[in-house]
């Protein structure tokens, strides 16, 4: 009996010893890998803890920042609400102003309509007045032309009046001179004229073109360069001279428009007549 127990205990001791040996060998064999895994896990845990601490710090910073932003946003929201309230008030005032402006606009539109009607009436009146102005302008132009014409006539007549006044003055001087002459010659100017009155002789100058004697050589005929156009008529007596020398007198026998023929009055001859001698009605 003791042998059986001893043998059993020996077998169990052998089994447990072998198990211990195998377990210790296995631990020795695989502990390096386990250690590496443990160290890796430890490093990973350390990294994770570090990352966690960083994340927590970042979270704290972010939280602080978000708190600041939140406060700022709350302030902004407060300001915005105040601005909204102010804008609401402004909107109410603007709407009231808009209503007043619309009323004012309607009033101005009505005034504008009246003003347009008045303007249209003014335009019509202006058109009529313009046409009337054109008519009056034409009449004014006609009046101006008439006035100018009348002024020209007036000037002409004034000139004629001045000329007549001058002539009247000359005539009065001439009458005075003639009256003096009559008084000196003891002629009564009121004495009536008896018989034909010879025409007044005006001074007309010409030249002798040629002279020749008649067929019987009893008289000498002279052709002169002045005629009836110069006031020369039959029976007129003209004087022939050369320079300051008196030649003779001639009596006109034939008269033509631009020439005349006269006979020499032998009783007055004082020299021979030559071509180019001067002839005049009076000296």
């Amino acid at each position: 009996m003791n042998n059986v127990v001893a043998k059993t205990l020996i077998v169990l001791q052998l089994v447990f010893s072998l198990c211990f040996m195998c377990f210790a060998g296995a631990v020795y064999t695989f502990q390096k890998g386990w250690r590496d895994k443990a160290e890796a896990s430890a490093r990973q845990v350390s990294d994770l803890q570090k990352t966690l601490s960083d994340q927590q710090a970042a979270r704290a910073d972010e939280k602080t920042k978000l708190e600041a932003d939140k406060k700022k946003l709350q302030d902004d929201a407060g300001n915005a609400i105040a601005q909204i309230n102010q804008l609401t008030n402004d909107l109410g005032q603007a709407r009231a102003g808009l209503a007043a402006a619309e009323q004012e606009r309607d009033k101005h539109l009505a005034d504008l309509l009246v003003a347009q009607q008045e303007a249209q009436a003014r335009i019509t009146e202006t058109t009529a007045a313009r046409s009337e102005i054109n008519t009056l302008r034409d009449q004014l132009n006609q009046g101006i032309a008439l006035r100018r014409s009348l002024e020209d006539d007036n000037l002409d007549r004034q000139g004629k009046i001045d000329e007549a006044a001058e002539r009247e003055e000359q005539m009065l001087r001439e009458i005075g001179r003639l009256r003096d002459l009559c008084r000196v010659n003891r002629v009564d100017p009121n004495e009536p004229v008896v018989g034909p009155v010879p025409a007044a002789i005006t001074r007309v100058d010409g030249v002798v073109r040629q002279s020749r004697k008649n067929a019987s050589r009893s008289a000498e005929l002279v052709e002169i360069s002045i005629g009836s156009d110069d006031g020369i008529g039959p029976k007129m007596k003209l004087i022939i001279f050369r320079g300051s020398r008196y030649i003779c007198e001639i009596e006109i026998t034939d008269v033509y428009p631009d020439m005349a023929v006269g006979r020499v009055i032998e009783a007055t001859r004082n020299g021979s007549i030559e071509r180019g001698d001067n002839v005049t009605t009076k000296l």
Binding site: S17, L18, Y28, R35
Partner: protein, 41 residues
């Protein structure tokens, strides 16, 4: 006095083997603890 047999039996061999196994296990255990510097980790 009874005469006891001094011849080793199979159980003596088994005891020897088990002792060797224990020694080997202790060696492994010591080596393992040595690698950890005799600390528990």
């Amino acid at each position: 006095m009874s005469q006891q047999s001094s011849d080793p039996t199979i159980y003596d061999a088994l005891m020897f083997v088990s002792l060797g196994a224990v020694i080997i296990g202790i060696v492994f255990w010591v080596l393992t603890l040595n690698s950890y510097g005799w600390t528990s980790g």
